[in-house]
């Protein structure tokens, strides 16, 4: 499978199912790539896969694609591939890949089930930008006949918050869009803050749309719980010490990385929230404190 075909397949997946997480779409494309791969050796196969993952990262520079791809590669090559025949090995790998895909397609549902119990009747929730996982959680809570109001930040520069508000209105949830600058103002009214994540890093912190860090600092100052909902394939082996330490390839969108020469003139799309500001993380591996994330990562990667 050629790289261009791979990218096309990936884009087709996203177009076909706009609700799917970009990482899931990436993994579906990687699985297809694996099926159509023509290499003769396992090493060649792995190299091709790594190359494919890199290519996908260039297309969609979110942290989730990178982490999901790496976890996929590790998962399928975790078995001792001792079959002498390459095609047998490949079949085993494809089987495991499909298992992985099935698991992670269910992860969003698991997170939703875990988190919606934390939303009490009459709660006022603040969220940031547009996250499909948060949407699922709120959907589950609404289905449980809970009454709550949602405040969404506008989240410039792409006004993703407005899209989130539309989706929530369709679910008959009372929602209000606030300016990004109004987070401090609205914080005293809300009971809890729930945000999604693009990536969860080793320290237990999260990488998410720009403005999340601000929200976390404000919620800490007001002593409001700050919850993060993320699937486990978003766990990534990064360890940023501060905002500056996040690698450039995640900060800006893929198109900007390719076209613009001086990145200092561009505004980053994500920021890093340190673990000290996060109360709990809801993942399909369970409800974790930020310090338990490292434990899970060690289990996943070592």
């Amino acid at each position: 499978m050629e790289e261009a075909e791979l990218v096309e397949y990936f884009r087709a997946q996203i177009r076909g199912d706009p609700d799917v997480a970009s990482a899931v779409a990436a993994i579906r494309s990687l699985l297809e790539f694996l099926r159509r791969d023509q290499s003769e050796t396992i090493l060649g196969l792995r190299e091709n896969m790594t190359q494919a993952i890199r290519r996908l990262e260039e297309t969609d520079s979110s942290v989730a694609v990178s982490s999901g791809g790496e976890l996929f590669l590790r998962f399928i090559s975790l078995t001792s591939l001792e079959h002498p025949d390459l095609s047998q090995c490949k079949n085993v790998m494809i089987e495991r890949g499909e298992l992985f895909l099935k698991k992670i397609s269910l992860s969003r549902g698991k997170v939703g089930k875990l988190c919606h119990t934390f939303i009490k009747d009459g709660a006022k929730i603040l969220t940031h930008s547009s996250s499909r996982v948060v949407l699922k959680v709120l959907e589950n809570a609404a289905a449980d006949n809970k009454r709550f109001t949602v405040y969404v930040t506008e989240s410039q520069p792409d006004s993703a918050g407005k899209r989130m508000a539309q989706k929530l209105r369709k679910l008959n949830i009372p929602v209000m869009v606030v300016l990004d600058a109004a987070v401090g103002y609205i914080m005293e009214k809300v009971d809890l803050v729930i945000v999604g994540a693009e990536g969860v890093v080793e320290s237990g912190g999260v990488i998410n749309k720009i403005g999340t860090y601000q929200m976390a600092v404000c919620s800490k100052a007001h002593n409001k719980p700050f919850y993060v909902v993320a699937e486990s394939f978003k766990f990534v082996r990064l360890y940023p010490l501060n905002q500056q330490d996040v690698p450039d390839r995640f900060k800006y969108t893929a198109d900007i990385l390719k076209t613009v020469k001086d990145l200092n003139q561009e505004h980053p799309m994500i920021d890093y929230t340190p673990p000290s500001l996060i109360t709990l993380l809801f993942t399909d591996l369970g409800v974790l404190t930020p310090s338990a994330v490292s434990d899970e990562l060690i289990k996943l990667y070592l």
Binding site: E202, G204, L241, N242, S294, D295, I298, L302
Partner: protein
């Protein structure tokens, strides 16, 4: 007449049997006693014997004891069996007692459990020092007497909060109390003890490596006495050495882990293994331990740490940590552009050594004393700290002053990175710097300026105490990242690493 003689002979035989009983009992309780007999029988040799002479001396007294044993061979066999049974009961009793004692003492008795299995005969003191408890002191004195290790006496008035710790003077090392040449202690151990107590070898890695090299020497010179197994006897031989070294300077966590490893390796030697082979195996084990846990670990840590050093960084280091210096030198070789601020503190002034090494490499350095910390911190972008040990609850034990640096760095929002190899991870739990620490020579605090030393006669002032602490403990909230050879982990994940390591073993 014959009847009389027979009864006399019988009496003699009975007496000999009784003596043998007693001897076997004593033998099991204190194998060094046998050493005493050997040493007494040997000719006094020069203080630094070559490796040949201990081996030389050993065959001569062995012959003597063998000839004595030959005469009592028939009586011995029954007595031997009885003695062995008694020794087994003894060991079970002492290990049970030891475990009970450990339970009564504070939390840090867990590491005591494993050494007890390996040394059922010698009762070990719990890891917590209790100098102000006369019962504990008496036990320690008795144990050292049994092992023929000199007891070092404390020096000077101790500040009441730390009166449970030892405080020794550098002017009276325990090596002075050892008679030369006839000692139970191997000469290279005596040399090592002197180097520790005088501060010639300082720093966690240096002390561990020196200890392991000395143990290699000891194993080289060791020869199994007859009727003994190498795996058990060598471990018993090592315990007086370890007591001696801890009298010279309390053992560090890294040294403790190294000793545990060696004892495990020794006791895992199969009994049918020949002596030369076993010795070679042990030496290879020690070499591989040093290589893996210290040298290769520092390479791995440098690799991770260099990722965290970006161009234009201003890095703050404290004191002299061999690992941090290594990282900075490696980063400089990889053409990273950064400058270093070395923070130093009295009375050790170790920062000067670090400064010397870094400047030699060509790194731009600034040197300040710790009192100027809040002045220079606004220009610092990262703080790199070394560690003496990482405790099981995530606290970092390091040179005194480290927690101060971490605290002020946190207040200025500067990331604090601790670099530590995994062999320094310790199962102990500590939340403050009082409970377990080391007191250095208080006379070090006396400073002479313009010919006047103000604290010279501090002993005469009854209410004055000089406190020279060596270590302090930093809570995990002040540490942003720990770089180990397993990767970069948050400070709260130290127990996870310990769990993974225990599973591996």
């Amino acid at each position: 007449n014959e009847g009389k003689e027979l009864t006399k002979e019988e009496k003699q035989r009975l007496r000999k049997e009784k003596k043998q009983h007693k001897k076997n009992k004593k033998d099991d309780k204190g194998p060094p006693e046998k050493e005493k007999e050997k040493e007494k029988a040997s000719v006094p040799a020069p203080s630094k014997p070559a490796t040949q002479s201990p081996a030389h001396k050993a065959p001569a007294p062995v012959h003597a004891s063998e000839s004595a044993a030959a005469a009592e061979k028939p009586a011995k066999s029954k007595a031997e069996l009885r003695a062995e049974r008694r020794a087994r009961q003894d060991s079970e009793r002492t290990s049970k007692q030891g475990k009970k004692e450990g339970g009564q003492q504070s939390a840090s008795s867990k590491p005591k459990a494993t050494p007890n299995e390996l040394q059922p005969v010698v009762k070990r003191l719990p890891e917590h020092v209790q100098v102000d408890d006369p019962a504990a002191l008496k036990k320690l004195a008795k144990k050292l007497e049994r092992q023929q290790v000199p007891l070092r006496s404390d020096y000077g008035y101790k500040v009441s909060l730390f009166s449970h710790l030892h405080q020794y003077s550098r002017k009276s090392p325990p090596t002075l109390q050892i008679s030369i040449p006839a000692t139970v202690i191997h000469p290279s151990i005596v040399r090592l003890g002197l180097q520790y107590s005088q501060g010639i070898i300082a720093g966690s890695n240096a002390r561990s490596v020196a200890l392991l090299h000395t143990f290699k020497q000891v194993i080289q010179d060791y020869s199994t006495p007859p009727n003994e197994e190498l795996s058990r006897d060598l471990v018993n031989k090592l315990s007086p050495y370890i007591s001696f070294l801890s009298q010279c300077r309390p053992l560090s966590a890294s040294m403790g882990n190294a000793i545990k490893y060696i004892k495990k390796e020794i006791s895992n030697i199969p009994s049918q293994c020949k002596e030369e082979e076993a010795k070679g195996k042990l030496q290879a084990c020690i070499d591989s331990y040093i290589n893996e846990k210290i040298i290769l670990a520092s390479e791995a840590i440098s690799k991770y740490a260099i990722e965290k050093i970006s161009d234009g960084d201003v890095i703050l280091v404290y004191g002299c940590s061999s690992l941090v210096n290594h990282i900075l030198c490696k980063a400089f070789e990889k053409q990273r552009k950064f400058r270093v601020i070395v923070v130093d503190s009295r009375p050790r002034l170790e920062g000067r050594e670090a400064l010397r090494r870094l400047v030699k490499k060509g790194i731009r350095c600034t040197y300040v004393l710790i009192s100027a910390l809040s002045y220079i911190l606004p220009e610092v972008s990262k703080v790199f700290l070394g560690a003496h040990a990482l405790l099981a609850n995530g606290y970092v034990m390091s040179r005194v002053g480290t927690s101060q640096i971490a605290l002020v760095a946190k207040a200025y929002n500067v990331p604090v990175l601790v670099c530590c190899e995994t062999y320094k991870f310790c199962e102990r739990v500590q939340t403050d710097s009082f409970v377990s620490n080391e007191l250095d020579d208080p006379d070090d605090l006396i400073v002479t300026r313009n010919g006047k030393s103000h604290l010279e006669n501090w002993q005469t002032v009854k209410s004055l105490g000089l406190l020279n602490l060596v270590y302090d403990v930093t809570p995990p909230d002040f540490v942003d990242l720990v770089i180990t050879d397993l990767g970069m982990i948050p400070c709260t994940s130290v127990p996870v690493v310990l769990r993974v390591k225990n599973v591996d073993q």
